[in-house]
Symmetry: C7
Subunit: 83 residues, 7 copies
Amino acid sequence: MANNIERPLDLLNNSKNKEVLVHLKGGNQFVGILVAFDIHINLVLDNTKEMQNNEIKRNIGLTFLRGDTIIFISPASFSSKKE
Amino acid sequence: MANNIERPLDLLNNSKNKEVLVHLKGGNQFVGILVAFDIHINLVLDNTKEMQNNEIKRNIGLTFLRGDTIIFISPASFSSKKE
Amino acid sequence: MANNIERPLDLLNNSKNKEVLVHLKGGNQFVGILVAFDIHINLVLDNTKEMQNNEIKRNIGLTFLRGDTIIFISPASFSSKKE
Amino acid sequence: MANNIERPLDLLNNSKNKEVLVHLKGGNQFVGILVAFDIHINLVLDNTKEMQNNEIKRNIGLTFLRGDTIIFISPASFSSKKE
Amino acid sequence: MANNIERPLDLLNNSKNKEVLVHLKGGNQFVGILVAFDIHINLVLDNTKEMQNNEIKRNIGLTFLRGDTIIFISPASFSSKKE
Amino acid sequence: MANNIERPLDLLNNSKNKEVLVHLKGGNQFVGILVAFDIHINLVLDNTKEMQNNEIKRNIGLTFLRGDTIIFISPASFSSKKE
Amino acid sequence: MANNIERPLDLLNNSKNKEVLVHLKGGNQFVGILVAFDIHINLVLDNTKEMQNNEIKRNIGLTFLRGDTIIFISPASFSSKKE
């Protein structure tokens, strides 16, 4: 999957309609289907779950996440590597 | 609802006149009717309630929220998923 | 009052010469008459009172508030909703 | 004094050569004569006193204050309202 | 390796497809293969491992890291110097 | 000295080759001869001393200080006012 | 060495290929040979050593340091002044 990534945003583009893990600066973690993103790394996730200690804390459905609170976004969810 | 979202701001546009849940960096949570937003993610909510532990802390009515304090905005309120 | 708000700054414009409640990032709360604002959400309040636990901590009269410290601005003061 | 204020910076302009109270994000408070300001809200104060608990902590004379550390600037000094 | 570095981004360019160590502001440490970067220092790492006390905390595979959370990026991994 | 200051940067220009006291956001204090500055308030100080409790903690000689960490810069050093 | 410094970046230019001490906002300290810098004060250091209490904590070799985490950069290393 890393072969066709020239710029960082290419990974986000490749991850559309797939489940991503998102870590925020305050320690919040979300898992959801990546619906949309922009150059500010603002995201829309669907079927979003707020996670705590690898367990679902609550379902928040469709969600707009502001880019400037994000640390990392990984299409490989839950500590398991998928390539 | 996720079908017609091309860019993150589309979700905010679709959520106009609907109830949204807003989480801020300092831990504050607000629920209110989304009246307006701009590209800085500044929001105006109507009928705004400041929440604490899923209970209403106080009513603050019409409110201007500065975008740079926002973590996420979800049209699905109160830990229940709506699609 | 929410009917004629197309963009977030419209609420501030509608609130000119009215009392607003302003919450800052550090926890400070101010109540005062909104005299002026700009696109950075810098404000001038008149008759400004610094509040603590819903009581007046001190009067600071005319005050310039820097926009980047603001969390929210509400024309509905003191936990009571006015529409 | 609030009558001729159209934009927030007008208050700073009206306060030139007058004593202002300045609160910074870290909790520092300064009182001094406003000598100059710019659009970043950088200030020069003369006769600057660093305050603590409404008492003078030290005199630092002419001082350049960086705008991005400022919470509010009030021409009404020391918790007493002057109009 | 330092000989052909005129500008800081040259080091990142030279490190493509090599293992880098990345330290973030919150204390997080990642090791992974540098796949892509942009002028905001947004990164994509492959085979990313989150580290804690020099041990692998978890594998997160392909990952987008936002540039503004990064303190330093070093092609020399694990406290050992390679030139 | 305040007479010829129209804009805040004029004070820095007047302070060139003079000793200044610089307070940073993290609490660090430096005293040194102001050699150069730019519009970001980046500074170069010569003969720089890091201060703690009004005593010299260490000499760091010529130093580049990034503007965005600065709270205030005062040509009047060590809590004593000089005009 | 201060004689030919007109602007702050001149000091960085004069320090190329020399050892510099870099202090970051989180308290980290690095010593290394300055290889490159840009207007964002992003740096590349070679032979970089992370310091703690004036002792070497670890060698991290060639390193890219993001400018916005930097407090100061001094060509005079280890608390001793060199002119």
